[in-house]
């Protein structure tokens, strides 16, 4: 075990997988010599050479397209989008090709591809460097969307994504990169995709969230603990397809559910989670399902005060948790 940052865990996962399987390779903007704008691929170019860590032109549709083609003929590409915001030119490739090829070819072809992309705000990145794009992809059967919250989960889930036989979108909260540190085993392990994880046990209220907000919710839960309120926290880890069983179990446990996402509220991942709960848990609910999310405005503002207004933080979660607990 070693204590490492979120981004170090991601780097380690790719390193281990590239050492294990020579079909694994990385492509993206500045991922080679520079080691990535966030240094996620640092040292890999040096270790594996320019044929396995490819610097690409500024053309996300090409990055995705090349990766999809390579994956279909047996390679294991990891395509990095420099920011999740820039994935949009590649949507056609990902949604129409990668997601559908197995279905379209009646199982003759598959696309074992990972698209990594840093998402989320809180780093003064404004509208082109702060978006949460998971909901855009979250009704595309054939895709999996993984968003880890801890270094341990990041390593285990990224390795699982690389080994998965189908395309996985792997979103990493950029503020978590160096903010969140944790114990990570140095040996080989994978975590199951599609499984949520209980990050904290409690019987007063349930908080369901993912990504950086898990960390914020845990902080808020500790403050509530001092007042005798125990929060049950479920980390979705995979936001598409959702772990319905875990969601139902966590919601039924307390009957008071708070759903948190940094994404714009309407049509978010949490809208779907709320629907699952209301479809399955009516007789266990003790309060209206509550959602805490970013406002429905077009983009993350640049002004620090306005960015704080947009962003989820432990205080906002704490306030919502207390309100729900009091109901």
């Amino acid at each position: 075990m070693a204590v490492m940052s979120f981004i170090e865990a991601i780097n380690l996962a790719m390193k281990e997988e590239m050492e294990r399987d020579e079909n694994v390779f990385i492509l993206g903007e500045d991922v080679g010599k520079k080691g990535g704008v966030f240094k996620a691929t640092q040292g890999l170019y040096e270790q594996f050479g320019e044929w396995r860590v490819l610097d690409t032109p500024l053309a996300e549709s090409a990055i995705a397209g090349v990766a999809i083609g390579a994956a279909m003929v047996g390679m294991r590409p990891i395509a990095e989008m420099q920011f999740a915001d820039f994935i949009l030119p590649a949507v056609n490739q990902i949604v129409s090709e990668a997601a559908k090829i197995r279905y379209r070819s009646n199982n003759d072809w598959s696309c074992p591809l990972v698209v990594r992309a840093p998402y989320g705000g809180g780093i003064h990145g404004a509208l082109y460097h702060s978006q949460s794009v998971e909901a855009l992809f979250a009704n595309t059967p054939g895709l999996k969307i993984v968003i880890p919250s801890t270094p341990y989960d990041a390593k285990g889930l990224l390795k699982a994504s690389i080994r998965d036989e189908d395309p996985v979108l792997f979103f990493e909260h950029k503020r978590a990169y160096r903010l969140i540190k944790g114990e990570v085993p140095l040996d080989d392990y994978v975590l199951p995709i599609g499984k949520a994880d209980v990050k904290r046990e409690g019987d007063d209220i349930t908080v369901i969230t993912y990504g950086l907000c898990v960390n914020y919710a845990l902080q808020a839960a500790e403050r509530l603990h001092d007042d005798g309120i125990e929060a049950h926290i479920l980390d979705l880890r995979t936001v598409y397809p959702l772990d319905k069983e875990a969601i139902i179990e966590a919601a039924s446990r307390t009957g008071k559910v708070l759903l948190v996402t940094e994404d714009n509220k309407e049509g978010s991942i949490m809208s779907e989670v709320a629907a699952i709960i209301s479809e399955n848990c009516l007789f266990d609910l003790d309060a209206p399902i509550m959602r805490l999310a970013g406002p429905d405005v077009p983009a993350m503002p640049y002004a620090p005060t306005m960015e704080r207004f947009f962003m989820i933080n432990p205080e906002k979660i704490e306030r919502a948790m207390r309100e729900l607990a009091a109901f």
């Binding site: 307390t254 009957g255 008071k256 007789f283 266990d284 609910l285 309060a287 009091a326 109901f327």
Partner: protein, 430 residues
């Protein structure tokens, strides 16, 4: 013209509900602001609810004999507002300033009444039906008193511990639901149906009688009572009191009673044995600093326990005066709620109606009650000689959770000691 609501007022701190003893008005009556509209009973005191408005009584929502939480709407009144048309903005300002005034003709889900009282979540309803729980018996801790899922789960837990009877178990008993008997106490089982024979007189249980009944049930149900009795030779005290009785009455205008001497002795002994001046508070015992003696005062059909505050600071004369005043308040029905609050120990003058031995029920949540019995002349052996002495029995009931016999014996011996040494030379009544 608008319709206003009158709510159950908060009559004293820590009072959470009140029973409407009697309506003093009926629909259609014209009342002025501050006119009494109802007699309400809280704890053990009657109070009159004044009208908050001048107008015509529209509807009496509260029923006589029923208990309502503070803030419940008990009646509505049609109010003539002269200023309404001339100054609407002021009316709006007043309305926002005082949320109590809610117009009834607007859709209203009860600003004043606990909103969530009968609104249950699916989880609560499911648990209640699965476990056969009467939700009326569950106390809500949620927003506006809402019963939460956790409240029901805790209730189920407490049922398992055998603390609260479940509905199912009650049903096995021969009970009949009576529409006229609300049971404010959750502990109280439903009444057993008793046939009325020809010639029997049916006396409805008044609010006051019910309050007394509930208090007694609660005390007897919850407190493990234990009893002690000591006989005290008060010959000297009797002689002393007889010698000053006439003069005292002329000078002070009221009687110097034996009871004042007893209360004085108890207050003094409590100072030395503060454990008897405690209350049981669930997970702890609270030893009270002030010595406030509750005294039981009976009328023909009821029992009150007004309080002599800080009795240890007061002389025998001071206590006698206060007993006199409190008794008069009780008999004239003018007891105020602050006169019955804060008691820490009760002394009961059972001797006044001839009793020589009794086992009192503790005035909840106090730790003990002392019954002062009749003073009677009895042959007593003193120094191997038989003498005729004035003897009195002191009967002490104790909460055995708080107190043990040993400490109570010492306390009672101290009271005895003080009383036996009360005479003209050693004790000044002033």
């Amino acid at each position: 013209m608008s319709v206003e609501k009158i709510i159950m007022p908060q009559l004293g701190e820590s009072v959470t509900e009140g029973t409407i003893e009697k309506w003093l008005v009926k629909p259609g009556d014209h009342v002025n602001k501050y006119d009494p509209i109802a007699e309400v009973l809280t704890d053990k005191v009657n109070a009159e609810v004044p009208s908050s408005y001048t107008g015509i009584i529209k509807e009496l929502i509260g029923k006589e004999g029923e208990t309502y939480p503070v803030g419940t709407v008990i009646c509505t009144i049609e109010v003539v507002e002269e200023k309404e048309s001339s100054n609407i903005s002021e009316a709006i300002r007043n309305a926002t300033k005082e949320p109590v005034k809610v117009k009834v003709n607007e859709p209203n889900y009860g600003e004043n009444i606990p909103k969530q009282k009968n609104r249950y979540s699916p989880a609560v309803l499911r648990l209640a039906s699965e476990h056969n729980i009467d939700l009326e018996q569950v106390t809500g801790t949620g927003l506006n008193g809402r019963i939460t899922r956790k409240d029901v789960l805790n209730f189920i837990e407490s049922m398992k511990d055998g603390n609260v009877p479940s509905v199912e178990r009650q049903v096995q008993e021969p009970v009949q639901t009576q529409e006229t008997s609300p049971s404010p106490s959750p502990v109280q089982p439903k009444p057993i149906h008793i046939e009325k024979q020809a010639g029997d007189v049916e006396i409805p249980v008044s609010g006051l009688r019910r309050t007394i009944a509930n208090n007694m049930v609660r005390s007897k149900h919850e407190i493990p009572h234990a009893w002690l009795m000591m006989e005290v030779d008060v010959t000297n005290l009797v002689q002393y009191r007889d010698s000053i009785k006439k003069q005292f009455k002329e000078k002070e205008g009221f009687n110097i009673t034996y009871f004042a001497f007893f209360v004085n002795a108890v207050a003094q002994a409590l100072k030395e044995y503060p454990m008897l001046n405690s209350v049981w508070a669930g997970d702890k015992i609270i030893q009270k600093k002030d010595i406030n003696i509750s005294i039981a005062v009976a009328t023909d059909d009821a029992l009150f326990v007004p309080v002599i505050k800080n009795a240890d600071d007061k002389s025998i004369k001071g206590i006698a005066k206060e007993i006199n005043e409190l008794s008069q308040s009780v008999r004239s029905g003018k007891l105020k709620s602050d006169q019955i609050q804060g008691g820490t120990f009760t002394v009961n003058n059972t001797g006044s109606f001839g009793s020589v031995q009794s086992m009192g029920i503790i005035n909840y949540p106090q730790a003990a009650i002392l019954q002062v019995e009749s003073i009677v002349k009895r042959p007593v052996v003193i120094n191997n000689m038989i003498a005729i002495r004035d003897m009195v029995n002191l009967c002490l009931s104790i909460d055995h959770r708080i107190l043990d016999g040993y400490i109570c014996g010492k306390f009672l011996n101290r009271v005895k000691d003080i009383l036996e040494n009360t005479n003209y030379y050693e004790k000044n009544i002033y």
